[in-house]
């Protein structure tokens, strides 16, 4: 009798416990539809948000931007900086059951380097070869010292895909990606949703409390927030700055933010073809005048309700790489006019191109109004993003309002834009001193040495201003109050380890 009762009680308790562990689905609203889901081919910011749940990387960053172990447990540099030896976890399997080991890492790095469609080639350019020491140790051999490599391995270049699946699928890997992250790919309906299922064999399974994650691209920020309010999604990224006040005041919602690693500014055409022959493009005094004419605090207040972080360098003011000797200057219309007079450029007209999206349009209208008072007449030329990018590369612009989402390593936010041969240097600004400083900063693993180089570069750039920095985006997340444990990261990624949902 007693035993039956005990069994019944136990059974009841178990069932109670089981019902608590019912299917938990997290629904996340994205600002865009990601592109191809192959870490080696992917090229969008929003794609990386999906990867945070789908593909683990060799190393990870902490919210304070330190590099911490993930699939790799430790790493050491050789004295000459040409060899990076990494030790790996031994308890990791890919979503298809294949084991993760040094051979897999070697395969992945090779793929990033040699796959024809690979967009990661420039990120791993310094890697000459890899040597598998044993199952959990891999040696990466570089052609030249590269301080940025570790940070690259904390992003898409370090995301590990299953060699078996990648070999079989080739360039179509993105249609059914197989990685080693907390969630495995289940299905994708273009422009509608991406669904990931919990991977039972995840090495850090305890940190994960959802059975599925669904990413829903909802482009319009108003509609995205409406969805959150209606309970159709649990969290969203890139909340509209002007909605922050309302989210803060809503007891059913939470708000998180983090200053991004990138920047938003006006890139000036200084040497890219005929259109560089403008007072703005040819004379740094004119550029400095434009920068002085802008009241960044007011601009921030009017367009973003004060939520963004104003800036004047490649790095945000709260970054350790920021040169504090050159703080953001307050508006000074008189000084601007004086500079323009000096340069013989009073009452000039310039065209600044930007995209038609409302936020950028507002931003440029504010800049336009402020610059007009100093005698700089701005015409706003709207081009859709694809055209804008094309025209920039071709030199078909005078100035362009464009930004960068930011990379962990400081080099990633400056080198490609401001070195003579920089891949994204559309302004074609070229100064050998800057090249030396930035190339030197890449090579040394010593932060102090690098900081010196970046400081020196900032001093030169503050005079020359090929890019007039305006502000640094603040990543804004809105979450339902049922979501607990979310940690905001400056790279804008949504990491679900440690996140739970209460009922």
């Amino acid at each position: 009798m007693l035993r039956t009762q005990k069994t019944l009680a136990l059974a009841a308790l178990l069932m109670l416990g089981a019902s608590w562990a019912h299917a938990a689905d997290l629904r996340i609203g994205l600002a865009e539809d990601p592109d191809v889901l192959d870490p080696d081919q992917s090229r969008t910011f929003v794609g990386r948000i999906v990867y945070a749940s789908l593909c683990d990387k060799l190393v990870e960053i902490s919210p304070a931007l330190e590099i911490v172990p993930m699939l790799a447990t430790g790493w050491t540099w050789s004295d000459d900086g040409l060899t990076l030896t990494m030790t790996l976890r031994d308890d990791v399997t890919f979503h298809d059951g294949e084991p993760f080991n040094a051979e897999a890492v070697a395969y992945n790095i090779n793929r990033s380097k040699t796959l024809e469609e690979s967009r990661r080639k420039s990120e791993v350019a310094s890697i000459a070869s890899t040597t598998v020491i044993d199952a959990t140790t891999i040696q990466i051999n570089l052609t030249k010292p590269d301080a940025t490599l570790i940070a690259q391995l904390a992003d898409r270049a370090g995301m590990m895909v299953s060699p078996k699946a990648a070999e079989a699928a080739g360039v179509e890997f993105g249609l059914a990606p197989v990685c080693a992250g907390p969630f495995a790919f289940k299905e994708r309906v273009a422009q509608d949703r991406i669904v990931l299922d919990k991977f039972a064999g995840y090495w850090n399974a305890d940190a994960i409390s959802f059975d599925t994650v669904t990413f829903l691209p909802i482009i319009d920020p108003t509609v995205r927030l409406a969805n959150l309010r209606a309970g159709d999604i649990d969290m969203l990224e890139r909340l509209s700055a002007t909605d922050v006040g309302s989210v803060r005041g809503d007891s059913g919602l939470q708000f998180e933010q983090a200053v991004s690693l990138g920047y938003q500014g006006i890139t000036v055409n200084v040497a890219n073809g005929d259109l560089a022959n403008t007072p703005l493009g040819q004379d740094s005094r004119v550029r400095r005048a434009l920068s002085l004419a802008i009241d960044r605090e007011a601009m921030n207040q009017v367009v973003f309700d004060g939520v963004m972080a104003i800036g004047n360098q490649s790095f945000p003011p709260n970054s350790p790489w920021y040169n504090a000797a050159f703080p953001v200057q307050a508006r000074d219309v008189e000084a601007a006019k004086a500079l323009l007079a000096e340069a013989g450029a009073e009452n000039i007209s310039i065209e600044i191109q930007t995209t038609p999206d409302p936020v950028n349009q507002q931003l440029m209208q504010v800049v336009q109004a402020m610059a007009a008072e100093a005698g700089i007449n701005i015409t706003i030329v709207s081009k859709e993003f694809t055209t804008q990018l094309s025209d920039q590369t071709a030199g078909n612009f005078q100035a362009s309002q464009i930004g960068w989402s930011g990379r962990v390593d400081p080099d990633g936010n400056i080198h490609t834009f401001l070195t003579c041969a920089g891949g994204q240097n559309d302004s074609k600004y070229c100064k050998p001193e800057i090249d030396d400083l930035l190339n030197g900063a890449r090579v040394s693993n010593d932060s102090a040495v690098r900081k010196q180089s970046y400081d020196a570069a900032a001093a030169i750039l503050a005079e020359e201003l090929p890019i007039i920095y305006l502000y640094h985006q603040t990543w804004l997340w809105a979450l339902s109050d049922k979501v607990q444990g979310y940690v905001p990261y400056p790279d804008g990624m949504i990491r679900l380890q440690g996140v739970t949902v209460t009922e």
């Binding site: 360039v171 108003t222 694809t386």
Partner: protein
């Protein structure tokens, strides 16, 4: 009938051919190098050149065109430059969505428009007619994207009755599926209801004043039978043909509606593809839409011919 159909299909062929050339040319003329957008942040010359070779963008235009057409005839419309997904698959995924939206909008339009048109025609000249006309014209005049935003704010956010966006396939959850489509279908349907009401009214009017109906009345049939059984049946001819054509307009109207309500249908697909310079998708979708539209036209004409002889006894 067969010869009529054959003739129409025959002359549709050069039209479709023209459309394909037209849509291809339009895409190629759009400014902005698609390869740059494809390459993203790593703009190494080798990668750009590789992408150009891969997507045959270096070939002369006519070669690109004929390659595309040749593949299309074999059922291969290429792949999306953005996600590598085959275009035919994308179309197969999106078409049912827009179709569901269109059908729901059409139902709303028919349910509102046809009875309104009948009543308006029957009560021609009275204040009911006048009111119905104003309401119909108002429905035509409201910008549907504005109506959509207003509805989202009111119904989803303030009242919480319906979801603000998203889509649930009918097969998965029919009730939720209809709920997500209700507002967009309403927005689309009201514009169409207005159009339908006016066409119904004019068709009914010409029938009600015809000899046929006068005979029916003279025979002593009661009004209700006259209107509903005889007049309506004959007025249905132009109404049905117009409805078939309106279906084509629906597909076009769905473009903005899908953007606002984030419905992953045809309209949204093609607008996004134009902005992303996703050539294969735009070409494939516009071609399919155009073929469907032409087919609808032929169907409408055929139905008119079939139903028309019955009208002859006026």
């Amino acid at each position: 009938m067969l010869s009529f159909l054959g003739h129409r299909i025959l002359i549709a062929v050069p039209t479709i051919f023209l459309i394909s050339i037209f849509v291809f040319a339009m895409q190629k003329l759009l400014p902005g190098d698609p390869v740059l957008a494809l390459a993203g942040e790593s703009r190494s010359p080798e990668l750009l050149e590789f992408l150009r070779e891969k997507y045959r963008l270096n070939d002369p235009l006519y070669v690109q065109y004929f390659t595309w057409i040749g593949n299309a005839l074999r059922g291969d419309l290429g792949v999306s430059l953005r996600t590598q997904q085959p275009v035919t698959e994308l179309i197969a995924q999106k078409l049912p969505v827009t179709l569901q939206l269109a059908v729901m909008a059409l139902i709303i339009a028919v349910v509102i428009g046809i009875p309104a048109g009948i009543i308006s025609a029957y009560r021609k000249g009275t204040w009911i007619d006048w009111l119905a006309n104003i309401v119909a014209l108002s429905g035509l005049s409201v910008p549907n994207f504005w109506l959509g935003i207003m509805l989202i704010m009111l119904v989803s956010v303030k009242l919480g009755w319906l979801p603000a966006s998203g889509y649930q396939p009918l097969s998965e959850d029919p009730l939720q599926s209809i709920r997500t489509m209700l507002m967009p279908a309403f927005v689309l349907g009201t514009g169409l209801a207005a159009s339908l009401m006016r066409h119904t009214r004019s068709a009914m009017l010409s029938v009600l004043e015809s000899d046929y109906v006068r005979t029916a009345r003279a025979k002593g049939l009661n009004e209700r039978t006259v209107v509903l059984k005889h007049a309506l049946r004959n007025a249905l001819v132009p109404i049905v043909t117009v409805t078939t054509l309106l279906f084509g307009e629906l597909l076009a109207g769905a473009v903005l509606t899908e953007q606002i309500f984030t419905i992953p249908g045809f309209g949204k697909l093609v607008v996004d593809a134009v902005f992303n310079r996703d050539y294969a998708v735009v070409q494939g979708v516009v071609l399919c839409t155009a073929i469907a539209f032409i087919a609808m036209n032929i169907l409408a004409d055929a139905m008119y011919r079939v139903l028309n002889p019955k009208m002859r006894d006026q």
